[in-house]
């Protein structure tokens, strides 16, 4: 900076029309001017503003147009396609899962039905065989009862017959006993009457 100042002073002193005090003032102003456009602080150099604003408007306008019309719809469509694809894949997976659940439910229902049917068949068979067994048992019992009755009847008959034989034997024996004891032979009717009386007792 001091270099610039002395240069300015030299320049000013080189001009004979300028008095020395004015030269110092000019040095100060030239320093100010220096900072205004000599590259001291470019962001505040207002003469470059118009160009920058113009190019900012042009380039940013172009950027906005390219983004709004080309780039963003492009990226957006990629994301949308992916989102749709994921959603449809998830829906498909859900559908397949539902179908699996349905199949499982159908299988279990069929299984339960088959089991119930099997039980029904088993119960029916059981009832049928039980009924058949019962019937044959009753038949056999009836037959046995019949045989029992016949046997009982024969026993009674035999008993009667035996009892009849006992009477005639008793009459003969009683007649013989009386004849031996008393020496007199009783009549057959007397003996028979006495035996009957004794049997009836």
């Amino acid at each position: 900076m001091s270099d610039v100042k002395t240069q300015a002073i030299i320049l000013a002193q080189g001009d004979p029309a300028v008095p020395p005090i004015a030269a110092e003032e000019r040095a100060a102003t030239s320093e100010l001017q220096d900072s205004a456009h000599g590259g001291s602080f470019p962001p505040f150099e207002s003469e470059t503003f118009a160009s920058q604003i113009l190019w900012l408007a042009l380039t940013f306008g172009a950027l906005y147009f390219l983004m709004a019309k080309v780039a963003l719809p492009r990226v957006g469509s990629i994301l949308e396609v992916r989102r749709d694809r994921i959603a449809s894949d998830l829906a498909e997976a859900q559908k397949l899962q539902d179908e699996t659940q349905e199949a499982i439910a159908a299988y279990e229902q069929a299984l339960a039905q088959a089991r119930a049917k099997a039980q029904a068949i088993a119960a029916e068979n059981h009832a049928k065989t039980a009924a058949a067994a019962e019937a044959s048992r009753k038949e056999i019992e009836a037959a046995l009862d019949e045989k029992l009755k016949v046997a009982e009847a024969r026993i009674t008959e035999t008993k009667q017959a035996a009892l009849g034989n006992v009477r005639s034997i008793a009459i003969d024996a009683a007649g013989a006993i009386v004849a031996q004891l008393t020496g007199t032979t009783p009549t057959a009717d007397e003996v028979a009457g006495a035996v009957d009386a004794a049997l009836a007792r």
């Binding site: 590259g39 160009s51 604003i53």
Partner: protein
């Protein structure tokens, strides 16, 4: 020692004449603006060339930037804010890429010029005002009248609200400008120390190790600042637009 301000100088690459006595030119600043726009556009288009269902690294990066800005917009300006998504995305990418371009050696930092950051802030504030009045009519002015303020305090509060609204474009532009400017000056100053000390023999070279380490750390920090400032600019834009969409909340 190198002049730390030199890097901010505007150089006319192609003079384009004058408009009303003001020189117009294609400058180094304009060149980097064009480079920024081209980079953003090519980045988004080339990385999504495959349009694959399962993104690769580059496509992920493009999708990440899209979803990051979309999330910021939705969170701070609601779903209605998505109508401004292209604008906010453009602002974010422009500021971010311009900041990052500034980190390249010998590059020019577009956002280190107050007129550029002010231009961007003006776009935001004009959008807020125009959309605010277009959507809400005069109800937009309710923005300056908070609820539940006693009548006596109302003029004072309204004055404060108006001043705070008017200072928004200034704070928005100065924050970005000052951050980029200060960061780059600091980098340049410390790098100047390294070069200056390094030329002073063995002892100087040994002394240059400390500023060199600082320059390395600051470079990392400046890249971080480049992201943070782009994000802050975007977030504040969203908040201001939220005021235009839902005034008088």
């Amino acid at each position: 020692m190198a002049d730390p301000i030199h890097q901010f100088e505007i150089k006319n690459l192609v003079p384009l004449g004058e408009i009303g006595g003001v020189p117009i030119a294609f400058t180094n600043s304009a060149a980097f603006m064009v480079a920024t726009v081209a980079t953003v556009f090519l980045f988004l288009v080339l990385t999504t060339q495959g349009r694959t269902l399962i993104p690769g690294r580059w496509q992920s990066l493009a999708e990440l930037s899209y979803e990051f800005v979309a999330l910021t917009v939705r969170q701070s300006a609601g779903n209605d804010g998505m109508r401004f998504f292209p604008l906010i995305f453009s602002l974010f990418m422009f500021v971010l890429v311009a900041n990052l371009f500034g980190m390249l050696p010998y590059a020019f930092t577009v956002t280190s010029h107050i007129i550029v950051t002010f231009g961007l802030a003006a776009i935001v504030i004009l959008t807020v005002i125009v959309y605010g009045f277009w959507k809400n009519g005069l109800k937009f002015l309710k923005l300056f009248v908070p609820h539940g303020i006693p009548g006596v305090l109302l003029p004072l509060v309204i004055a404060i609200e108006v001043i705070s609204f008017l200072s928004r474009p200034i704070s928005l532009s100065v924050r970005l400008f000052a951050n980029m400017l200060a960061g780059h000056i600091t980098l340049k100053v410390f790098a100047g120390f390294v070069a200056g000390l390094g030329s002073m023999g063995a002892l100087g070279a040994a002394g240059a190790v400390l500023p060199f380490a600082l320059v390395v750390a600051l470079t990392g920090f400046e890249i971080f600042v480049a992201f943070i400032q782009a994000y802050v600019f975007t977030l504040l834009t969203c908040l201001y637009l939220n005021d235009a969409i839902h005034p008088g909340h």
